[in-house]
């Protein structure tokens, strides 16, 4: 066995050349490509991290915005609830006021209706009283409708103030005397006599008939009147009843004095 030194040297040179060839044309470009891909991948990862950080920041911002929106919504709801409560209280107060007004109006209507009813009742009572009085008087003689009222008429005339009595019949005009029925001459003379006595001077009378008086006599003057009739008495009774019912004291018609 022997070593061929030429072959040994040539193979050494060949391997060294092959190291250069493979290093130049295989390992360097391929390793460079791997490194380039690694750099790109690293850059892509860095970009992804940056994008992830941006996304995290955006998410945090979105969460913050969401929290702000939720807070604003809660505040708005609270404010709306307060406004609704205030409006509700206002509506309730207005409703109460309106109800009070309606109740007062109803009270007024009721009072007015009661007053009207009372007036109607009084009217009916007056009509009934007139009817009763008329029926009762129809049982008396016709003379009683006049005779008993002449002194009272004279007393009423005497109770007038002097200046009114002085002006009565002073200008030559006769005194207007209303009677429940047509007066007879005797009754006219009696009336004239009584009135002249009350005035202290003679006076002329002009008789008128007013069946509404029922019974009695009345004097009509420009500035005064003397009523001494059953009708006037009933009116005074009705007035007294009305006054009593307004005062809340019903049943006072028995106290009226003609």
């Amino acid at each position: 066995m022997q070593i061929d030194w030429w072959t040994l040297g040539l193979q050494t040179a060949n391997v060294l050349v092959l190291v250069w060839i493979l290093g130049r044309f295989l390992f360097r470009p391929v390793a460079g490509m791997i490194e380039q891909r690694r750099v790109l991948a690293s850059k892509a990862l860095d970009d992804a991290r940056v994008a992830q950080a941006a996304a995290e920041a955006a998410r945090a911002e979105a969460e913050r915005t969401t929290a702000d929106l939720a807070r604003s919504r809660a505040d708005a709801l609270k404010k709306a609830a307060q406004e609704a409560e205030a409006e509700k209280q206002g509506i309730i107060a207005a409703a109460r006021t309106e109800a009070e007004r309606v109740r007062e109006a109803a009270k007024a209507d009721i009072a007015r209706a009661r007053a009207d009813e009372a007036a109607a009742a009084r009217g009916r009572a007056s009509a009934l009283a007139l009817d009763i009085a008329d029926k009762l008087l129809s049982r008396l003689p016709e003379q009683a409708r006049i005779d008993g009222f002449i002194p009272g008429l004279a007393e009423g005339l005497a109770a007038l103030p002097d200046e009114i009595r002085a002006g009565l019949g002073a200008d030559g005009h006769p005194v207007r005397l209303k009677a429940a029925r047509a007066l007879s001459d005797a009754e006219v003379n009696a009336c004239r006599e009584q009135l002249s006595r009350a005035l202290g001077r003679p006076v002329e009378i002009a008789c008128e008939t007013d069946p509404a008086l029922i019974a009695g006599l009345e004097l009509d003057m420009p500035h005064a009147a003397v009523r001494n009739s059953l009708r006037a008495d009933l009116d005074r009774v009705a007035g007294a009843l009305a006054k009593g019912s307004k005062a809340g004291a019903p049943g006072s018609n028995g106290s009226a004095t003609p």
Binding site: M1, W6, V15, I21, P29, A31, M33, I34
Partner: protein
């Protein structure tokens, strides 16, 4: 009859005899150069299948260097990768009829082992400096200097003998079986020879890494124990 271990020159270039290992090595060099030139001319970021195979090969070499030497693989990639590829192709060249693998001859294995030996010294001196590298022979004491020197020589010798023995024996076995049996009988032995060739290529590359890495790491370890800053390899 001539010994099969004796190389007969095929022709002469001037005074230089050209033997079959040299000729086969030239053919391998030309083929590899053309393939690499063609393959790396169209590298893209989105690799084709062939580019993926090339990147897998480079990544494997880088992983081998990084795992074995615990160092950045870029500086040693060309040497270790070339040794791996060349030894593998040289071993498998026996599949071509009439071609005798260059690694079945002592000169080629000696050349590879000599290159590894020189690379060990080169990278050791480069990493530690001449004094630092020489001091590694005195570790752990100066008494070990002869043994360390002998170790450098014997492990290089074992490197070449291991590769030469395995490949040469495979070629001999196939030749003997082929002369004794029929045409198809040597095929299992050839398949076994393929496995042996791949394993020997891997072992040669790994041992080269180990030797170079040892030259670097021994000096760094001794400097750390002396409290000195290690030099970057």
């Amino acid at each position: 009859m001539n010994s099969p271990l004796v190389l007969e020159p095929l022709f002469h270039v001037g005074p230089i005899p050209i033997t079959s290992p040299v000729l086969v090595t030239w053919a391998i060099m030309i083929a590899l150069a053309l393939i690499c030139r063609f393959a790396t001319a169209r590298l893209t970021l989105e690799p084709s299948r062939f580019q993926a195979v090339l990147e897998l090969l480079v990544s494997t070499v880088d992983g081998l260097v990084a795992d074995t030497m615990q160092s950045e693989p870029a500086r040693y990639r060309a040497l270790i990768g070339t040794i791996l590829i060349y030894v593998l192709i040289a071993n498998w060249s026996s599949l071509i009829p009439g071609i005798e693998p260059p690694t079945a001859h002592l000169e080629t294995d000696a050349a590879l082992a000599f290159i590894v030996f020189c690379a060990t010294i080169y990278y050791g001196v480069r990493a530690l400096g001449l004094g630092g590298y020489l001091r590694t022979f005195a570790e752990p004491s100066w008494v070990m200097i002869p043994l360390n020197v002998v170790e450098q020589i014997t492990r290089t010798f074992s490197l070449l003998v291991r590769l030469f023995g395995n490949i040469m024996s495979g070629v001999f076995v196939i030749g003997i079986v082929l002369s004794l049996a029929g045409l198809l009988v040597p095929i299992p032995f050839m398949a076994l020879d393929l496995l042996t060739g791949a394993v020997q290529a891997y072992i040669f590359a790994v041992l080269a890494c180990v030797f170079i890495g040892a030259a670097i790491s021994e000096g760094q370890a001794s400097r750390k124990s002396d409290g000195k800053e290690p030099t970057s390899p």
